[in-house]
C-alpha cells in the first residue's frame, strides 16, 4: 500500500490516541490549526481540546509541562514545531527529562515522547534549517530516533510511547510529502537497530533522516558505474547500532557517512571514531564523510543546495575512496 510519510505519522498518532487514554498531544498549533505540517489534521475535532492541546509559544514551559505530566502518570507526545525552536526547551529536555531517573537513584522515569521536524532544503535560511540531532544524541538518558521511511514513520511511535524513558523523534521536514510502500512489517519497528536499506559490496553509505534518500540516490548512480553501495539507515541515533555498522563495513571495507549536521562535532564524527575503534584493520581506505558546509544556511537556492550533502557529493566521495574519477 502506498502512503505518505505524513499520513504514516498521522495514523501512528491516531492509533496511540485511540488506544491509550493516557496519551495526549501537546504543542504549538497541533489543534485548531491541524499541525504545522498537517500531521494532526482533524484530531482536534475527534479527540477534543484536552487531548489535542494547543500550547502557547512557550517551548521551555510546555516541554517541561509534558515532562511533568509524564512523571504524573500520563503519556504525553509533545510536538515542538521544529528543532530550531527546541533550543528554547533544551534545559528541560537535558536537565530534567534526561537526568531525572539517574539523579533520583532510579525512582522516577520520564516516559515522554518529544517530536520535532528538522533539516533544511526549503530555503528557510539560517534560523529555520538546523540539524541538531547530534546535540540530543550526545546526552545519556535520552533515546533519539530519526524515522526516514514510511514504515518507521508508521511503526516507531508505539515503541517510543512504550519506553519508560524520554524519546526524541526527529522528522525531516523534506520527508512529509514523500510517498512510499508500507511494508507488512511496519509494526515490528524497534528503537535499537539500524537497517540495511540497500545491499552492496563495495562501500557502505551510512545516513539518517533526510540524508538516507540522498544516499539511496547516490547508490543508484554508483550502481550504473558498476559500484555496489550498501546503504544503512541508522534509524536510531542514540543508542547507535554499532553491530550493524561494523558488520557492513567489515564486508565492504569502505565507509562514507552522510550527515546533514555541520561537520565539526557531528554524528558523522562519532560514527567515524567508532569505525576506527572497532573495524580499523578491516578498512581499505580512510572513512569519509559528507556533511553540511560550515556556514549558516543561506537563503539563495543555489547556495543552500551547495551547503547541503547531495547525491553528487556522495558519489564524488565514494569515487575518491575507490581512486576512480567521475564518469
Amino acid at each position: 500500500m502506498k502512503i505518505t510519510y505524513r499520513e504514516a505519522l498521522r495514523q501512528a498518532l491516531h492509533d496511540a490516541l485511540a488506544c491509550d487514554p493516557r496519551v495526549f498531544l501537546m504543542g504549538e498549533d497541533v489543534g485548531k490549526y491541524g499541525g504545522s505540517y498537517a500531521v494532526s489534521k482533524g484530531f482536534f475535532e475527534e479527540f477534543g481540546p484536552e487531548r489535542i492541546r494547543d500550547a502557547p509559544l512557550s517551548e521551555l514551559g510546555f516541554v517541561g509541562a509534558g515532562i511533568g505530566a509524564a512523571l504524573g502518570g500520563m503519556r504525553p507526545i509533545v510536538e515542538v514545531m521544529t528543532v530550531n525552536f527546541s533550543l528554547l526547551a533544551l534545559d528541560q529536555i537535558v536537565n530534567t527529562a534526561a537526568l531525572y531517573r539517574h539523579m533520583s537513584g532510579g525512582q522516577f522515569s520520564v516516559p515522554v515522547v518529544i517530536r520535532m521536524s528538522t533539516g533544511a532544503g526549503r530555503q528557510l535560511a539560517a534560523q529555520h534549517s538546523h540539524s541538531f540531532e547530534n546535540w540530543y544524541a550526545h546526552v545519556p538518558g535520552l533515546t533519539v530516533i530519526a524515522p526516514a521511511t514510511v514504515d518507521d514513520a508508521r511503526g516507531m511511535l508505539a515503541p517510543a510511547l512504550a519506553s519508560p524513558d524520554p524519546v526524541i523523534v526527529f522528522e525531516h521536514a523534506m520527508l512529509y510529502p514523500m510517498e512510499g510502500e508500507l511494508s507488512p512489517n511496519w509494526a515490528k519497528a524497534d528503537l535499537c537497530s539500524a537497517r540495511v536499506l540497500r545491499p552492496g559490496g563495495d562501500v557502505t553509505l551510512i545516513a539518517y533522516g533526510g540524508t538516507v534518500w540522498k544516499a539511496m540516490a547516490a547508490a543508484e548512480r554508483l550502481a550504473s558505474q558498476g559500484i555496489g553501495a550498501e546503504v544503512i539507515d541508522l534509524r536510531v541515533l542514540r543508542p547507535l547500532d554499532d553491530a550493524t555498522i561494523m558488520a557492513s563495513v567489515r564486508r565492504t571495507r569502505r565507509a562514507v557517512i552522510v550527515d546533514e549536521g555541520w561537520r565539526s562535532g557531528s554524528l558523522a564524527a562519532e560514527i567515524m571514531a567508532r569505525i576506527m575503534e572497532q573495524a580499523f584493520y578491516d578498512l581499505d581506505a580512510p572513512v569519509a564523510r559528507v556533511c553540511s558546509a560550515e556556514v549558516p544556511m543561506p537563503y539563495a537556492k543555489h547556495l543552500e543546495e551547495a551547503a547541503l550533502p547531495q547525491p553528487e557529493s556522495v558519489v564524488a566521495a565514494v569515487l575518491q575512496l575507490l581512486g576512480k574519477t567521475a564518469q
Binding site: P56, S104, G105
Partner: protein, 334 residues
C-alpha cells in the same frame, strides 16, 4: 493600641499539637543543618551545600499545609522540605555522604533529594527548572480527574527566569492545581532583588497572569502555614493556581563557597532577632502552651535524631563502581 500591646507576642491561632509539631520540625532542620555545616568542614559532605537556616518556617509551614499524597517539587535548598515531609534524616544524611543508603542512592547529593513514596520530585538545581515540571504534574492530575495538589518551591531569583513566566501562564490558562511557593530571601546568590528586577513586587508579576496571589511573613511559621493552607484549599477546589510569596531571610551564606560579602552584617543580625524558632517559642510560652523544659526536650530529641542520622550515614555503603552505568535508562542492566 498602646505600645505595650504592640510588643505583646502575637497569638497562635492554630491547634497546639500542630504548632508544636511545626516547632519540632524547625528545630530538627536547624540542628540537622548545623551538623551538615560541621560535616562539610570535616569533608564528609562535599559538592554544593545550601543551608536553609533562617528560612525554616516557610518549608515547615507549607509542607504541613499539604496532604501526604500531594506532590512537592523543590530546589537545591531542600533539606528542610525533605525533613518536614518525613523522609528519614538518616536517608538524607546518607545521600549527602554519597552512600547507597541515601534517598537518591548517592547519585544526587544535597541538591537532589528524591523520594517517590513521599512524592518529592527533587531537588532541582536549575533555578526555575522545577516550575514547568510542577505545572506538568498538575496537568496530569487534572487530566486524570484527581484532587491532589502540586506544590513547587523556588526562590525570588527564579522569578527572573522565563520558566517562571511560562509556567504562570500555562497554569493559569489551564486552571491547574498547582501552588507556587516563592521563598523570597532577598538575594539571588549575591544579587539583591532591587538590583536585578525592574518590578520588585513579586505578587504583581504573578497577578499579571491572572494568578491568585498572597503574601506571608516567612519568619512566622503560623502565617506560612495559614497562607499555604488557604492556597492549597483553593487549588484543590479547582479555582486555578495560587502564588504565595514568603518573605524570609537566610542567615548563612548562599553555599559553603560563598564569602557573603554582598550584605551588611547588621542586616543579618536584625533578621536573626525575628528568627522563626524564637518567634514561635516565645508565643507558645506566653500562652502557656510550651515550657522551657519541653523546648529543651524537643531540642535534645532533634540532636539525638541528627546523631543517629550521622551514624547511619557513616555506616552506609559505597555503591560498587561496577554499577556506575545503572539508572541512566530504565532497562539498562549493568
Amino acid at each position: 493600641m498602646t505600645s505595650h500591646e504592640t510588643a505583646a507576642p502575637k497569638p497562635v491561632p492554630i491547634e497546639t499539637g500542630l504548632a508544636l509539631a511545626m516547632l519540632r520540625d524547625m528545630v530538627r532542620i536547624r540542628r540537622f543543618e548545623e551538623r551538615c555545616a560541621d560535616l562539610y568542614g570535616q569533608q564528609k559532605i562535599r559538592g554544593f551545600l545550601h543551608l536553609y537556616i533562617g528560612e525554616e518556617a516557610v518549608g515547615v509551614g507549607a509542607v504541613h499545609a499539604l496532604a501526604t499524597d500531594d506532590s512537592i517539587v523543590a530546589t537545591y535548598r531542600e533539606h528542610g522540605h525533605a525533613l518536614a515531609r518525613g523522609i528519614a534524616a538518616g536517608a538524607i544524611m546518607a545521600e549527602m555522604y554519597g552512600k547507597l543508603e541515601g534517598c537518591s542512592r548517592g547519585r544526587g547529593g544535597s541538591m537532589h533529594l528524591f523520594d517517590a513514596k513521599a512524592r518529592l520530585y527533587g531537588g532541582n538545581a536549575i533555578v526555575g527548572g522545577g516550575l514547568p515540571l510542577a505545572t506538568g504534574l498538575a496537568l496530569a492530575e487534572k487530566m486524570q480527574g484527581g484532587r491532589r495538589a502540586t506544590a513547587v518551591f523556588f526562590g525570588e531569583g527564579a522569578v527572573a527566569e522565563g520558566a517562571f513566566h511560562e509556567s504562570m501562564n500555562l497554569a493559569a490558562l489551564w486552571k491547574l492545581p498547582v501552588v507556587f511557593f516563592c521563598e523570597n530571601n532577598l538575594y539571588a546568590m549575591g544579587t539583591a532583588l532591587a538590583r536585578s528586577e525592574s518590578q520588585t513586587d513579586l505578587c504583581a508579576k504573578a497577578a499579571s497572569y491572572d494568578v491568585t496571589t498572597a503574601r506571608a511573613d516567612g519568619m512566622d511559621v503560623v502565617a506560612c502555614y495559614e497562607a499555604a493552607r488557604d492556597a492549597v484549599n483553593r487549588v484543590r477546589d479547582g479555582a486555578g493556581p495560587v502564588f504565595v510569596e514568603f518573605q524570609t531571610y537566610r542567615y548563612r551564606a548562599h553555599s559553603m563557597f560563598d564569602p557573603d560579602l554582598y550584605r551588611d552584617k547588621a542586616e543579618i543580625e536584625a533578621w536573626k532577632k525575628n528568627g522563626p524558632i524564637h518567634n514561635l517559642t516565645n508565643r507558645l510560652k506566653s500562652e502557656g502552651k510550651l515550657t522551657e523544659q519541653t523546648f529543651l526536650a524537643i531540642d535534645a530529641e532533634a540532636q539525638r535524631e541528627v546523631d543517629l542520622a550521622v551514624a547511619f550515614a557513616e555506616e552506609g555503603t559505597w555503591e560498587s563502581v561496577d554499577d556506575l552505568a545503572r539508572d541512566v535508562h530504565t532497562q539498562a542492566a549493568p
